[in-house]
């Protein structure tokens, strides 16, 4: 992965010094609460229900062993021994003390990490395909472009106080695994007819209160111009995005208000002036950045016979391989997903001991690197097929080999009411109750591909709108209720889920999911996934079933008339 040079290092070191001074001035009463808030947010520090919460940037989901070990150290020393991976490939600590944060940031800087722009109304951490560089369906490696965007957006002086947060995602593969349609800017790498690289640019996606999928504003921006083009988009947004109402301040609202054609026209009017300006990229810069990734040189290997034999006679191993192992662009290698979705553990949570152990395993089997998936799991990008069985056994010991990637129990969830002060309802207990109900592996494998996303409020941190099944915490007269949507999807065929009807109490949720699943099994065609069945038959059969079975349950519970 990308290795800092002296300039990168100097910038994070200077950031630590700046923030230490700001914290000291805040504690001395020289900075008011309001003045300090954006400063701490732009270093990832929220003040939450129980304690501050610190969000650390994992640039486009890339991690190294020494960084994992630093997470372990921070978790032990400054937190309660664990961390939480988010739907934006970042890591959060839930219990650090405000006064300790400058020291935590100093430790992070010592391993080329930071919390810069992980929160606040600025350009956030860039996200991308967790399998970048190794995916079989990749056309262009997005990582150097992500890094270039990261550097450009870090302390961009014009865009540090935007109307609202601003998220950029980059995809370079056939299948969009970066959810570019739900980002403020989605950059889709492609080649034109002559084979030249450029970007299709989507603008105005986002979830939250008003979920909207991004629309294309440019079909092809040549790579040399991409920063100039982004600058034009951001300038239009910075000047014209709404600042009177935080709920209407995202760029998606501006794009809707102007219409995408008018928005694109304004961007073009700005771009005319910026085009070919100083931010124009050079081949030398692309090569330099790409070179600093220092990727391991892998030579293709013959397909491993022993691995295939094991698959045939070890069912547990085969189950794991079927869900948690992915094709690699090179023969003889595979990518491995480490499940952070074991039953009974909050989705995305990881302990200090697991951080250390994952670091060790990454060094033994995966060139010392790991990736974060926005589905709140980890991955090793390149593992030799011959090592898969050993790796599986060790992951199993660590509780990281649950064979459920992409299955119903691989639930995506925000921290919800247990941690978050904005929550309407808890999310984690709902996730755990559903996992608990669906703990039979054969049944889960039979249900097949299914994404279930939970958010504790309409801010949608758990991406519930794009879950095949989406669960949203709502407040009904001070009680916690849950609204259910189906038919949402991320990726190439992104769509927003539709609400099936009135909301449910927490205790009903496993039953509701069960009704949805029964309806799917009754309606599905051979080999058809849940989402495809919903697309084909619509939400009605699901809805009817869920509410009919709910009434039946309520009838049953009524005391019989005497």
């Amino acid at each position: 992965m990308y290795q800092y040079d002296e300039y990168d290092q100097r910038i994070v070191d200077e950031r630590v010094a700046q923030y230490a001074d700001q914290t000291a001035r805040y504690l001395a009463g020289e900075l008011s609460e309001d003045e300090f808030r954006p400063l701490r947010l732009q270093n990832g520090l929220y003040i939450q229900r129980h304690a501050p919460m610190l969000r650390i940037a994992v640039p486009y989901g890339n991690l190294r062993a020494e960084q994992l070990r630093m997470f372990a150290h921070i978790a032990r020393t400054y937190d309660r021994g664990y961390g939480h991976f988010t739907t934006r490939q970042n890591l959060q600590f839930n219990w650090p003390k405000l006064e300790d944060v400058p020291e935590i940031l100093r430790l992070l800087a010592s391993v080329q990490m930071h919390g810069i722009q992980t929160s606040g109304n600025c350009i956030r951490n860039v996200t991308s395909d967790p399998f970048a560089g190794v995916a079989a369906d990749e056309a262009i490696d997005p990582r150097p472009w992500c890094e270039i965007v990261r550097q450009w957006s870090t302390f961009h002086p014009e865009f540090a106080y935007l109307p609202r947060k601003f998220k950029i995602a980059v995809n370079g593969a056939q299948e969009d695994r970066a959810a570019i349609q739900i980002h403020d800017i989605g950059l889709d790498l492609r080649r034109d007819a002559e084979g030249k690289i450029g970007f299709r640019v989507l603008v105005g996606g986002g979830l939250g209160r008003t979920p909207i999928l991004g629309e294309e504003v440019a079909s092809f921006v040549p790579w040399q111009q991409i920063l100039n083009y982004c600058e034009a988009v951001l300038r239009v947004y910075n000047l014209h995005g709404r600042r009177d109402n935080a709920y209407k301040a995202r760029i998606k609202i501006l794009v809707k208000a102007l219409g995408v054609e008018e928005f694109a026209r304004q961007v073009d009017a700005e771009f005319v002036h910026l085009k070919d300006g100083p931010s124009t990229l050079t081949q030398a810069e692309i090569d330099r950045v790409a070179g600093r990734f220092n990727d391991p040189v892998l030579t293709p290997l013959p397909a491993d016979e022993a691995y295939r034999a094991r698959l045939a006679d070890d069912r547990a191993f085969a189950n794991w391989a079927r869900r948690n192992v992915r094709a690699h662009r090179l023969s003889g290698y595979a990518s491995v997903v480490l499940s952070l979705k074991k039953s009974g553990i909050a989705p995305g949570d990881i302990t200090a001991e697991q951080f250390d152990a994952v670091a060790d395993l990454s060094e033994r089997y995966a060139q010392g690197e790991a990736r974060v998936l926005h589905e709140q799991n980890l991955a090793f990008a390149s593992v030799r097929e011959a090592d898969l069985h050993d790796l599986w056994q060790q992951l199993h010991e660590l509780g990281l080999a649950t064979p459920n990637i992409g299955l119903l129990s691989d639930i995506i969830s925000c921290p919800g009411g247990d941690f978050c002060s904005l929550a309407n309802a808890k999310s984690i207990p709902i996730a755990l109750a559903i996992q608990d109900r669906f703990d039979d592996l054969d049944h889960l494998h039979d249900i097949g591909d299914l994404e279930l996303n939970i958010s504790g409020c309409m801010n949608a941190c758990g991406h519930h709108h794009v879950g095949h099944i989406g669960v949203l915490g709502v407040d009904k007269n001070g009680e916690e209720w849950y609204q259910v949507t189906i038919g949402g999807a991320q990726g190439n065929q992104a769509s927003l889920g539709k609400v099936i009807g009135p909301s449910f109490a927490a205790a009903e949720m496993p039953d509701v999911v069960e009704s949805l699943i029964r309806s799917y099994i009754d309606n599905r065609n051979e080999g058809e996934a849940f989402i495809d069945t919903v697309r084909r038959v619509g939400i009605e059969p699901f809805k009817t079933r869920v509410y009919a079975e709910r009434s039946a349950r309520q009838e049953e519970r009524k005391p019989a008339h005497v």
Binding site: Q3, D5, E6, Y7, R10, I11, E14, R15, Q18, Q22, E30, L31, E35, P38, L39, R64, N121, Q151, W152, S153, T154, F155, H156, P157, E158, F159, A160, Y161, L162, L227, R235, N238, L239, R243, H273, G277, P278, S279, T282, A284, E285, D287, R288, G291, R292, N294, P296, Q367, G368, E369
Partner: protein, 183 residues
């Protein structure tokens, strides 16, 4: 007399910023004596009669977030002081307005940040082309302002192109190519 930061130094300042209150008429409001920075509305309403003062360097114009700098594009060669108002420090429109004034419209005179101008934003302001910054009167003691000067140089080698240093890092320096040892 308030203290401002100009070209990296603390200076006493004698300009008065005229702000229109509810009901004030831009066309008729009486201008304070001495050097004055008038809002765009006043400038547009009375441009002919104010031109001489602007040329003499005793009258400047301020814009706020919703103002289009194109409105004074033709006057920029005449004006010696243009200010941009930050109604709240988190309202970042002023950064884009400053960048436009300096780059698109080629303004070369004094560009001053007024309004809620705080030291933790000085660095970004400087990068966007402000050469003077006027914190709210009484916000900082002289000693605090002295300490705040350091904020102008928080980051010594910023990554991206901006008004103060147009070349991005990759054009300013030959950055080291691929790290030598394999990870």
């Amino acid at each position: 007399m308030s203290e401002i930061i100009k070209n990296g130094q603390i200076q006493a300042d004698e300009w008065t910023v005229l702000r229109l209150a509810e009901g004030d008429d831009a066309a008729t409001i009486e201008l304070p004596h001495g050097r004055v920075i008038v809002p765009l509305a006043v400038w547009l309403a009375r441009r002919e009669s104010l031109l001489a003062q602007a040329e003499a360097g005793v009258l400047g114009v301020w814009l706020t977030g919703s103002d289009d700098p194109a409105a004074i594009a033709d006057d920029l060669p005449t004006l010696q002081l243009v200010a941009v108002n930050f109604p709240k420090f988190v309202d970042g429109r002023g950064y884009s307005i400053a960048a436009l004034l300096r780059t698109r419209y080629g303004y070369g005179g004094e560009l001053r940040a007024i309004g809620e101008v705080l030291r933790d934003q000085f660095f970004y302001m400087k990068r966007c082309g402000f050469d003077s910054m006027q914190p709210p009167a009484g916000r900082y003691t002289h000693a605090q302002l002295e300490a705040a000067l350091a904020s102008l140089g928080t980051f010594t080698e910023p990554y991206q192109s901006a008004v103060d240093v147009a070349e991005p890092l990759f054009r300013r320096h030959l950055r080291p190519a691929p790290a030598k040892e394999q990870a």
